[in-house]
Symmetry: C2
Subunit: 333 residues, 2 copies
DNA sequence: ACTGGAATCTGGAACGTTCCAGATTCGTTC
DNA sequence: GAACGAATCTGGAACGTTCCAGATTCCAGT
């Protein structure tokens, strides 16, 4: 069974149809103003009649540029990633650039493959929203095209720009909020020991020190099935918890419901990332907002500068904000 | 300030470096077995030394095929869309096809533009996960390449395949579950009057009729700020509510907490879509699962068949399942 | 009517790959 | 050591566009 779809018309078919040269068709379609009004109309009509659509691939080949950038995220289902990607995408659209979105699905090898594939597709720059892509892979990519990394507070080669939320000050904001409510025994919970989590713990400890209070070690609570750890935390002495991310905070919230340690009456809980989830759970979660859209926008502006020729590294840090909702309150007793 | 990045090496550079013809380089890189082992190694080494990466754009131009498909979704932030997209993507990867993901951001014009752009990029097929793309746009696209639509229970031209969850039987499942728990007064809430919502209401009414119970009109509750409508619903006589989607169900859950009509004690609530959210709220939400991954997988298999030459339309319906969690229970008193 | 310059149009080269037909080399067999 | 087929390699054409240098047409001014 063979595909009967007609061969896709080319600029040459349109030229024949309109009775002009292919070059003129090209000019007319691109709106060049060396084409007389009458022939332009004739050409457009011919193109329309044939259902012509310009072949981006051929254009990209001859121009050596595609007008596309690549965006690689760890996991699209994670709202943090998808919203940063959205910010990049919007800003790219405004800058007249198209976006190829690649989803790594938490697999470092797949992400490395995506890097290759995007470079193969001649993207003009790469935005990496992931801490899982190997630095060596990034460095190799950066030899070929501009690369900007979002949300990775670590040392990167000079060819690579980066923008990240300020994790220390984000954690600070949360702690200051809890302290101002009157909490004195504040815990820090995390399911990860990645650099971002460590930075947040540093901010947490520093803010407590500034308030003359004592910081605790980070409590490791696995997100799925960490009920034992969660129970210990919820039933321990702390009247408030700062969680390394919203997902974990929500698990604590829910476990609290189950064992009768309900927020915000018995315990105050602060999340991190201000994802969609935070606004939808009960009680609605107070959370640190990384300004994802700003992250994305900044990433794109850095990329544009690189594409335009900047060579010096740029490191940007975005100050987070705190969104206060209903999961935090004055401690009772 | 000019960009000092070196010109990207081509197959010809590699050929010169290895002292062979460009054709042989092409063969060697593609793993053709008409190349002797020693020269293959020499060529690969040369390629490696120059940091050569094959130019997909040039290959696509000459082969007339890109090995890519396009996936257009209404809104990536909506977990339903992103998970269907994920299903498509996984299946495509298994089939050796790459995926371009385009995010419509709820704008019909943008989505139409994405269709054009993807066709321009010579994708071999299009999966549309959106009920917002104009049918005329789809029909025009389908003249040029295979198009599969996911989750749109409406009449489409023969060139276009479709796969959708069975909304009537999904609603049925939910109602049967509630009836079996002993509920007799069951409401249906929706924020939309799109075809899917109407089909779900039909299923709801039919299931109630089968049980000898009375169906009510769909109650319109806006998702944001619909507290008046929500209050009426929660305080009305119904002991159970089937909601047209998880988002709305969660709003009802939360509003219930606020006014003391708590699920599942005072009211049972069932969502639709079984999104991530359903598993994370308190109480965890019973929800109809559309089997998003199956939707995506089926969409891709239909697309592959079309690419291979099938011309007859295929319409597929996926039977949903019910995931019972903690928001439904036997009615009290 | 003739000129010169502007306006409009054209043909071929180029982009980096694959594909094809054929050229060259190699090893075996007589 | 000649002949032959298999193994290995090569050069040019093609893909559909843009770009460039130049060709042609048109028109105003003399």
């Amino acid at each position: 069974m063979s595909n009967d779809r007609p061969r896709r018309p080319t600029i040459i078919d349109v030229a024949a149809e309109a009775g002009v040269s292919k070059s003129l068709v090209s000019l007319a379609l691109r709106g060049d103003d060396g084409v007389s009004e009458t022939t332009r109309r004739r050409i457009l009509a011919a193109a329309d009649r044939l259902g012509y659509r310009s072949n981006t691939v051929a254009r990209a080949l001859v121009q050596g540029r595609t007008g596309q950038i690549g965006v690689i995220v760890t996991d699209l289902r994670n709202p943090y990633h998808s919203e940063v990607a959205l910010g990049v995408e919007k800003a790219a659209e405004d800058a007249g650039l198209g976006t190829f979105l690649a989803n790594g699905r938490r697999d470092a090898d797949r992400m490395a493959a995506h890097v290759d594939s995007l470079i193969g597709h001649n993207v003009e720059g790469l935005v990496v929203v992931s801490s899982r892509v190997d630095t060596a892979v990034l460095a190799a990519a950066a030899e070929r095209l501009p690369v900007v990394v979002v949300g990775r507070p670590e040392i990167l080669p000079d060819r690579i720009d980066s923008v990240a939320g300020d994790d220390e000050s984000g954690a600070r904001l949360a702690v200051e909020h809890l302290v101002s409510l009157g909490h004195t025994d504040i815990a820090f919970a995390s399911a990860s020991t990645r650099p971002a989590a460590r930075a947040r713990h540093r901010g947490y400890a520093a803010a407590l020190a500034d308030a003359g209070l004592e910081a605790a070690e980070a409590v490791a609570v696995p997100i799925e099935g960490g009920t034992g750890e969660a129970d210990d935390l919820l039933r321990g002495g702390a009247t408030a918890v700062l969680s390394n991310n919203d997902l974990l905070a929500v698990e604590l919230l829910n476990r609290g419901h189950e064992i009768g340690v309900v927020a915000p009456d018995r315990i105050s809980i602060v999340g991190y990332d201000n994802t969609e989830l935070a606004a939808r759970v009960w009680p609605r979660l107070t959370s640190v907002d990384q300004r994802r859209t700003a992250l994305g926008r900044t990433a794109l502006s850095m990329l544009s500068e690189r594409i335009a020729g900047r060579t010096a590294a740029r490191r940007e840090v975005i100050a987070p904000g705190l969104v206060v909702r209903d999961s935090t309150a004055t401690p009772k007793e």
